[in-house]
């Protein structure tokens, strides 16, 4: 009997051990944060079928290549349908099929793909930081075949260059954009006059609302990111694109007067925020603007990117037409017209004829117009006509982007991950107690010195 028992015990041990080993193969969890770009898209409006198929002959795609291109992107549902509709004319023209799959966590999937060598030809990229890392490690290929001068002339100034690697080669392209730094208001509480300057805006009388601002920075493990958008908008408007670039690139210290001033400017707004610092640090960004739609109104303004309107409707109980927006006003007139943006990047992992052709095609105004007309897409390409946009918010966002004198990519997304994470944390700590600003900035300098040298 003891012999049978022993056999059984040995077998069980082995089975458990095997089970433990086989579960070890699951992909490691990766911290993800909601990127402001990938916010919920507006539902596609009824597309005007007649104008949906552009004249593809001008797109420059080589005829009949055959074969297929594998594409991984972050889009699913209606966005995925729109993407497939966008590439359909190209598929017809070249005889190449696009094999698309959507992934909720691009960073984890592509990191695993690089390790195993199982990569798509073309992929959406989670952000410029990882994009550069992957290029440096040799996984991502340079896009030398793209006519950079033409691409740059068609996109808002300064934007195309964000897709470049440290050796000045183009490695990522932008097609879809989001405009940040919009100031939303409830039409019942504000007449929509665009304040002339930031000081004028922040000095407005909050009445009939209780407070001037609705601010909420909580976002789970990514808490603080809405505040980083604030700082980026302020730095760009207050100290200009050169300081912005130096700061994002790790050459401008956090303790420098320019960055400190930006934090203090945010502090002025925080002082006028609904519910005080307690509300700011504990309220989820999606619910932050809810008091704007209560009666009596809790606050007058809310600062966020274009995607937030979906939250107004779902969390705040607002309806279309209850709210409107203007662009965050200039702080220093010298840098008037600067906006911060975000966008979805595309890169190439396998250098094939088909992949090159697809990248070329995605950059064209004809291709992007297809998605623009389906809704939920703001095009990077200035040649997409404003009439193509089906709704007011996206049309105005696109006009803003096209008219911008300096369009800068979301700075925290461009920073190394360790810097980005420390920035989030600093925002939370600053919002809770503004008196600690100096020590918070000094800590950020320590991280900066470390993170950029890795």
């Amino acid at each position: 009997m003891s012999r049978t028992l022993r056999v059984l015990a040995a077998m069980l041990t082995a089975i458990f051990a095997f089970a433990a080993c086989s579960s070890g193969g699951t992909p490691a969890p990766s911290a993800s944060r909601p990127t402001a770009t990938g916010g919920p898209s507006a539902s596609p409006s009824e597309s005007s079928g007649a104008s949906a198929s552009p004249d593809a002959s001008g797109s420059g795609a080589a005829p009949s290549l055959g074969g297929s291109v594998t594409v991984v992107g972050s889009w699913s549902g209606s966005e995925q349908e729109s993407f497939l509709a966008m590439v359909e004319p190209w598929e017809e023209q070249t005889g190449t099929s696009v094999e698309y799959s959507g992934s909720r966590d691009l960073a984890a999937q592509l990191t695993a793909g690089i390790a195993s060598g199982n990569l798509p030809d073309v992929a959406g990229l989670p952000g410029p930081g990882l994009m550069r890392e992957w290029y440096d490690s040799g996984a991502l290929k340079a896009l030398d075949f793209v006519d950079f001068a033409k691409y740059e002339s068609e996109t808002p100034p300064g934007f195309a260059a964000s897709g470049k690697a440290s050796d000045d080669k183009l490695i990522g392209i932008f097609t879809k954009a989001a405009v940040k730094g919009l100031i939303f208001y409830n039409v019942a509480g504000y007449d929509g006059t665009e304040p002339e300057s930031w000081d004028a805006l922040n000095g407005l009388d909050p009445a009939p609302a209780e407070a001037l601002w609705c601010i909420g920075f909580e976002s789970g493990a990514a808490s603080g990111w809405p505040g980083t958008d604030w700082i980026e908008d302020i730095v760009l408007r207050q100290s200009g694109p050169d300081v912005y670039d130096a700061w994002v690139g790790g050459e401008q210290k956090w303790t420098s007067p320019e960055i400190k001033q930006a934090f203090e400017t945010l502090g002025d707004a925080l002082d006028k925020a609904h519910g005080g610092s307690d509300f700011v640090v504990t309220t989820a960004f999606g619910a932050a603007a809810n008091p704007m739609f209560t009666d009596p109104q809790g606050c007058k303004f809310h600062h966020q990117a274009s995607f937030i309107t979906d939250f107004f409707k779902n969390e705040g109980g607002a309806a279309d037409g209850d709210f409107d927006f203007f662009v965050m006003p200039d702080i220093n007139p010298e840098f008037a017209g600067a906006v911060t943006t975000a966008g979805d990047l595309f890169g190439m992992f396998n250098d094939t004829e088909q992949a090159r052709s697809l990248i070329q095609y995605l950059l064209t105004a004809e291709a992007q117009q297809i998605w623009v007309e389906r809704g939920g897409f703001i095009s990077m390409n200035r040649n997409v006509p404003a009439e193509a946009y089906p709704d007011e918010t996206s049309r105005r966002s696109a006009e803003l982007l096209a008219a911008a004198t300096a369009a800068k990519f979301d700075g925290s997304d461009l920073m190394p991950n360790a810097m980005n994470e420390a920035f989030f944390k600093a925002i939370m700590e600053f919002s809770q107690n503004q008196d600690n600003l100096d020590s918070i900035l000094a800590d950020l300098d320590t991280t900066q010195a470390d993170a950029y040298s890795q």
Binding site: R6, V7, A10, M11, T13, A14, I15, A17, F18, A19, A20, C21, S22, G24, A28, P29, S30, A31, E133, G220, A221, S223, G224, D278, F279, V281, T282, T283, P416, N417, A418, E421, K425, M428, E429, Q432, D443, T446, D450, A451, Q454
Partner: protein
């Protein structure tokens, strides 16, 4: 391979391989000379277990130690640089300090509370019911606990239980997870909620093991309840308390999920394990993450050794 085929393979092939291995070694052992066979048999039987422990426990431990003295990409040897980094940064030292607070406070509260509850429920009729309720949180995953307690601490008094109470008492709502150092204790409280049931059940079992004659004899000799507790119950319960305490200390050192879900280390509530996760997955710094893992390991080893020593002593008494 389709998943169903993999499953079938695992269910059938793995036991088959093991049975084959056992049959094979038995066939070999019985054919060996009489003196050699019985000697090597235990080793052959133990081999699979040793192999698994080696591959899945010992090898990763050694690999982590080696990795911790290499740079980010694992190419250049950097000596103690990752450790110097750990002990030279404000945020990591905050994490270290908080882990010390966790170890001391969580262990003291859980063992103390567990002991008190175990003794009290021992004297009531509805003992099993009371124990079941206190034990229940053990069955809830740590992440779910974090989510639940986030609601408990919520600022809005209509949602947050704690602020519901403060509002009823006429105070302003509090941000429980924001102000330092209160937030760390609020996080530890969730740990108490999770672990007290476990401590109570084990201590209660230990309590039942103390013979009633001993207690009766003491009472007959005129000892009051406090004297009985201090003179008899506590010394006899000491080994059990030691086991519980070590378990809780290790839990406190490893604590991650609750902190990750509730504050993610903001406002000075960082802990070592959360820092390790961030270095590995957010900052892609496997060298530093490995160094943190080794430091954590080094902190746990003495506790383990103490536990083993105690276990040996107990065995020796028996």
């Amino acid at each position: 391979m389709p998943p169903i085929l993999t499953a079938v393979l695992v269910v059938l092939a793995v036991p088959a391989v093991l049975v084959a291995y056992i049959l094979l070694i038995e066939a070999i052992v019985t054919r060996l000379p009489r003196r050699v066979g019985p000697r090597i048999r235990p080793w052959l039987w133990l081999f699979p277990a040793f192999a698994f422990v080696g591959v899945f426990l010992i090898y990763p431990t050694i690999a982590t130690m080696i990795r911790s003295v290499f740079d980010r990409r694992g190419e250049a040897f950097v000596g103690a640089e990752n450790y110097v980094w750990f002990f030279g940064r404000n945020d990591t030292l905050t994490a270290l300090r908080n882990n010390v607070i966790w170890v001391v406070a969580l262990t003291a509260i859980v063992v103390g509370l567990g002991l008190v509850i175990a003794i009290l429920v021992d004297r009531v009729r509805y003992e099993s019911g009371a124990k079941a309720i206190i034990f229940l949180p053990m069955a809830i995953s740590a992440v779910a606990t974090g989510v639940i307690w986030r609601f408990m601490y919520e600022l809005n008094p209509d949602v947050g239980t704690f602020n519901g109470v403060t509002a009823a008492l006429g105070f302003d709502p509090q941000t429980w997870l924001v102000n330092e150092p209160r937030n760390t204790f609020m996080l530890i409280l969730t740990g108490v909620w999770m672990q007290t049931g476990f401590a109570m059940v084990v201590l209660s079992a230990g309590l039942k093991g103390i013979s009633t004659e001993l207690l009766e004899a003491a009472r007959v000799d005129g000892a009051n309840e406090l004297q009985v507790f201090r003179g008899i119950t506590l010394p006899l319960l000491a080994p059990t308390i030691a086991v519980i305490a070590t378990t809780i200390v290790i839990f406190a050192l490893k604590t991650f999920d609750v902190v990750y879900v509730m504050t993610n280390g903001n406002f000075g509530s960082e802990v070592i394990a959360n820092r390790m996760y961030k270095e590995l997955f957010n900052n892609t710094q496997p060298g530093r993450a490995s160094a943190i893992a080794v430091i954590l390991f080094a902190a746990i080893v003495p506790v383990m050794l103490l536990n083993i020593k105690r276990f040996r002593e107990q065995e020796a008494i028996r």
